[in-house]
Subunit: 414 residues, 2 copies
């Protein structure tokens, strides 16, 4: 079964707000087995809205519309829907009572604009709004369902979850959809695709595979529409076992965790502590680790050692090493990782020093050159990486690479 | 002039990622006077892509396409565009050399998939990609321009800013649009709107005003389409003067700088140095300050003191203060700010300690309670804030509030 999502309003078209409503709706619909054919954002323009509705009606069995139901002049969704369904706006007494109660609860006075919000297309089924003044609408024509809701995210979400989803489930018998996401790090997309060529071509045709890359991780997602959830999950589990055999420790998790979350989980489970010493990442590792609620259980702190004095005076990197090898060197990151581990008395530590760019390059150390060390009480491992030329991406890649090295050290694969 | 944005790929349609590319593109196009007619998201489906291109071609003069250019099987944008423009894919030697150089810089090996990314439609103008393997494409037909770019946000953004915008400006004579953004911090939107009521109602009708709120700042943007840039700019400058009289130091900058950039600029101009001591912000202030290229000129480092031991042992907060007043207290942040300033020998310092949540609240310190101190060699100012219940928002608000306090201390308004 196919659905279209239509978002009405200028804020998205001028780049003022991000279309998070559509993402949320798509996720909800996907979870009950409804596939989104198209997401369309149009302005508050009568003709454009009608044309978009006509096209969607030809292709999909469900059309979910958000926006354009506010009390101001430029909100024309209701009138346009009335025209599209050849019906009239009439004042709905139930909705009027809802609006009056809502306005009263806010200690405000009813005005003509509020009252106008009770005027709704005669032929629709009303979806009541318990936390705002714009009611939703449900239309049906030739087995196609149209749902119109306000654009205010929390009003839309409450209405959709409480009223629309139950109605959709009752009306349509939708198949179950399973997603299984495998998180990888360290192997570029093209190399991974080559490694997986054979496995991929032998995948059961019901399973769809997607590669989702970013500087932080490369996700592989298997999706499957199935009549029976249990057997579907088993089929995907079998494929995951094969995948794990091919990729090994390149897989750092399943589900949706980032590396900083997976590493946090490992530390928590094992009751171990972490500190970081950061130069070019500037505290980015610390802030990600500490962004997780409860991270104070395993994260003690960080020294952001942006200047060499701090590497020397606080982390105890010998001046001789800084002079002889430079701040971006194997010797320096090893000393930084040892220094912070001792200073903060932790089981594990991470140290990063690199040239994030655009300045700071030398003849033998181009922008992107980054040394990373991870250590526990017995072992220190340091590696050199040459990332790219973009400062922000270099910081993100150095962060993820350091976290992955820590993970590998913790599971004794480094 | 109208433009359509078409996003190709399943990730958005299944609700896995938010369509931030379109928002960013819409904002960029808007800024050069190009109005977005429609944003459409479709799946990697040949027929659907072609139909969407046809419809867009009838309505708009510019069609910006992102996504579907990766090296995997499900990426079909290139083939589909070749079909749509009745041309063939041929290996482009320049792009091949770019890809080879890129792969080499990553210490990886070329493979058949990388090589295939050099195959591009014969009739298009290539847009080179300096930070990835998927080249962009520029097509023209009957005065309509089609631009196709990869969906990876940082590759797309670099390509669009560096290559596409200059080409669009050269090709189309778009009306001049002036934007003037005033950055404010510290006054809530509803209060600000009240303060500005009179000024706003007296604004010349050509100037449109938008309030753009976020946890980091509240932007006021004046926009104006004008025939003569100079007189337009003068009109806006006059309004800005009046605005400045009303809002005073609530305005921290004009243009697009965040507080961490404005503060960095101030430090650099005055040749002053900064250190931070962060508990609940976990390094977020440090990573923002150090995200600016050249920040090593004024930023020496940070101690992320997540545990009390570190507040005591490294920052020198007396144990008695921690026991008597707690880690989230006026006394503690004052000692933290003094401690880090001395430790790192800087002119200014920031210290933050708070309960980001969801855990950690006590009877008299609810989630969101945050103490912030800013200091120079002569003066320490500490203030208490009670932010909200959301961990991530609390961290962002604490960060921005601390940076704003530093700014006010630096300009002697605190």
């Amino acid at each position: 079964m196919l659905a279209d999502i239509i978002t009405i309003g200028d804020e998205i078209l001028i780049g003022q707000i991000v279309n998070t409503n559509s993402t949320w709706l798509a996720e909800q619909l996907e979870a009950i087995g409804i596939k989104i054919r198209q997401i369309t954002t149009v302005s508050d323009n009568r003709q454009h809205i009608i044309q978009t509705l006509q096209e969607a009606e030809e292709q999909s069995q469900l059309i979910v519309i958000t926006g354009g139901l506010g009390p101001t002049e430029d909100d024309i969704t209701k009138q346009t829907l009335a025209e599209f369904f050849d019906t009239q706006l009439i004042e709905n007494q139930e909705v009027l009572a809802d609006i009056e109660a809502f306005v009263k609860s806010r200690n405000a006075q009813m005005n003509s604009r509020n009252r106008k919000q009770a005027e709704l297309p005669q032929s629709c089924t009303i979806i009541r709004n318990e936390i705002g003044t714009a009611a939703g609408m449900w239309f049906e024509r030739n087995s196609v369902v149209f749902v119109s809701m306000p654009g205010v995210p929390f009003e839309m979400k409450a209405m959709f979850s409480n009223s629309v989803i139950p109605k959709l489930k009752a009306q349509f018998k939708t198949p179950e959809v399973i997603h299984f996401t495998v998180q990888t790090f360290g192997t570029p997309e093209s190399v991974l695709a080559e490694q997986l060529e054979e496995w991929e071509s032998a995948l059961p045709s019901e399973i769809k595979l997607a590669y989702l890359p970013s500087p932080e991780r490369l996700r592989l997602r298997m999706s499957m529409v199935c009549a029976d959830k249990e057997s579907g999950e088993q089929l995907i589990a079998e494929q995951y076992l094969k995948l794990k055999e091919i990729l090994g420790e390149t897989i750092y998790d399943t589900g949706d965790n980032y590396l900083y979350e997976t590493v946090g989980k490992l530390l928590l489970e094992r009751n171990l502590s972490l500190s970081t010493a950061e130069s070019c990442t500037g505290g980015n590792i610390a802030r990600l680790i500490s962004s997780v609620a409860g991270s104070s259980e395993y994260f003690k702190g960080s020294v952001v050692a942006y200047s060499n004095e701090i590497k020397k005076n606080i982390l105890g990197v010998p001046e001789q090493i800084l002079i002889q090898h430079g701040a971006v060197s194997e010797q320096t990151v090893i000393e930084m990782s040892k220094g912070v581990q001792k200073l903060m008395d932790t089981d594990f530590s991470i140290a990063v020093s690199g040239i994030a760019g655009p300045g700071g390059a030398t003849q033998d150390k181009p922008v992107g050159t980054t040394w990373i060390a991870v250590a526990n009480k017995q072992k220190v491992v340091a590696s050199k990486f040459i990332f790219g030329t973009q400062r922000d991406i270099n910081i993100r890649r150095a962060t993820a690479t350091a976290l992955n090295m820590l993970r590998l050290l913790m599971i004794e694969k480094l």
